[in-house]
């Protein structure tokens, strides 16, 4: 009888405590007073051109490996790679003694609407790699490209000789014709200018809508998860930082978007028919060792679109890591920190 009373008392106590936490966190979220810090690892800008910037992270830098340059997508903010202290890929690498650089493409404005894929792959990336190499006094760098950042990296590596020791590709879309929903829409023959606004760019809201369309029920599921775990400070912190990031899309420069649509229509990367700056680009000229990291539940860049990399590049050494997770699960969450981060670090140490 006493045991039942104790259990009941404990349960009531726990429920009351959770209700108080739930109310506190809920009010904090609604009022906007509850904020968690993102992109907190100390860093310094070492190169700038236009809106693009290259940041170098502070740390021991004693791993004795080439510096690593992280290249993120054009349509999202890159701080997701350094989302929260204790849950950050950048922090993980810095703690391992890597010399870490991250590219921030910035938020395109009207003046950037003419930025083409050439701007990023032939103009910015070679300068960025050179800046990192010079600053670290290294002969070569390691390159890590995520999603569209991976695509830009592959194009840059194919278009010119770059001092890159090894390349890590995360969820890089290669089979563009297999990209869900958007490839279908492009195939209908819709004039892509319809997506471009008066600034000459594709608005951030259109990017956000296109991404949320791929998983229409995700928003409802996320709210259900939040409601269920509103009492849990750690969960609410993670939710807030990640959902804040996922709402912060940036416009896509109109000219680059038109080129991407043309690539999608022609499935240009799979068929090796990429033309940049009026030159045929041979993806087979990429010869550095590659680690291709894929999420088997990736809804944004499905396996069919991402796994083609090994067939188009000419690298003699190609390793693949498949993780049972989604697109962002490769960089955020438990599987990222327990599987993806250590595997990437280990692979880089071997190359």
């Amino acid at each position: 009888m006493t045991a039942i009373a104790t259990t009941l008392r404990d349960r009531i106590g726990r429920d009351l405590e959770r209700s108080a936490s739930r109310a506190r966190n809920g009010l904090g979220l609604i009022a906007g007073t509850r904020r968690s810090g993102v992109g907190m690892s100390p860093k310094r800008a070492v190169w700038r051109s236009g809106r693009a910037a290259l940041y170098r992270y502070e740390g021991r830098r004693d791993a004795g490996l080439p510096p690593i340059v992280l290249v993120f997508s054009l349509v999202c903010r890159p701080y997701v790679l350094d989302l929260r202290p204790g849950h950050s890929f950048v922090e993980f690498l810095v703690d391992k003694g890597h010399d870490v650089y991250m590219v921030d493409w910035g938020v395109p404005e009207e003046a950037d609407s003419e930025n083409s894929l050439e701007t990023y792959t032939l103009h910015y990336l070679p300068q960025i790699i050179e800046a990192a190499r010079e600053r670290s006094r290294a002969e070569q760098v390691n390159l890590l490209g995520y999603c569209l950042g991976g695509l830009l990296s592959v194009l840059a590596l194919s278009a010119q000789p770059l001092p890159v020791n090894a390349f890590v590709s995360l969820a890089t879309p290669i089979g563009l014709a297999d990209m869900p929903v958007i490839a279908n829409i492009v195939r209908t023959g819709l004039d892509v200018h319809n997506f471009i606004d008066e600034t000459g760019n594709v608005p951030a809201e259109v990017i956000a809508d296109a991404i949320s369309m791929l998983k229409p029920t995700a928003a409802v599921v996320n709210y259900a998860n939040l409601w269920q775990n509103l009492w849990n400070d750690e969960f609410v912190d993670a939710y807030q930082s990640f959902s804040g990031w996922s709402r912060e899309h940036v416009p896509f420069p109109g000219r680059a978007f038109q080129q991407m649509s043309a690539f999608m229509t022609a499935d240009a990367l799979t068929t090796n028919s990429v033309v940049l700056d009026e030159r045929d680009i041979d993806l087979g000229s990429v010869a550095c060792p590659i680690l291709c990291v894929l999420g088997s539940d990736d809804h944004l860049v499905p396996l069919s679109a991402a796994e083609g990399l090994e067939h188009v590049v000419g690298s003699k050494q190609f390793d693949e890591l498949r993780v049972d997770t989604g697109h962002m699960g490769l960089m955020v969450g438990r599987k990222a920190s327990t599987t993806v981060f250590p595997c990437i670090a280990e692979w880089l140490e071997k190359h």
Partner: protein
């Protein structure tokens, strides 16, 4: 010879998931999960279909055409009163953007020119 290998996933992730106790689900969540599990595949199949793509494509085209018509009409209306329309401001801001691009190109060129 091309070396292709599948890296083994870190075993610690499997170990930690095995140790983790299953969270007790409230009743509302169980109901929600069963509804969501039934609805999600159907909704996803719908948005990934060719028909949906054609529908979106048509909607975007119509919206774009309507916006163009409204802009032209409003522009004529404001010009009657000798006032600038949104399209005039857009043209101006596009000119400024072009100037900004030119300045950026000049700055870039001056950086690359060797000092005399």
């Amino acid at each position: 010879m091309t070396t292709q290998s599948k890296l083994p996933p870190d075993s610690s992730s499997q170990a930690s998931s095995a140790r983790r106790p299953r969270q007790e689900q409230p009743r509302w969540r169980t109901v929600f999960n069963s509804v969501e599990a039934g609805a999600t595949p159907k909704v996803e199949a719908l948005v990934r279909s060719e028909g949906f793509a054609r529908l979106v494509s048509a909607a975007v085209s119509v919206e774009s055409a309507v916006q163009k018509q409204v802009r032209q009409y409003m522009s004529r209306y404001w010009h009657v009163f000798n006032l600038p329309a949104a399209s005039d401001l857009t043209r101006l801001s596009q000119r400024i953007a072009r100037l900004e691009r030119n300045v950026a190109e000049l700055v870039e060129a001056s950086k690359q020119r060797p000092p005399t």
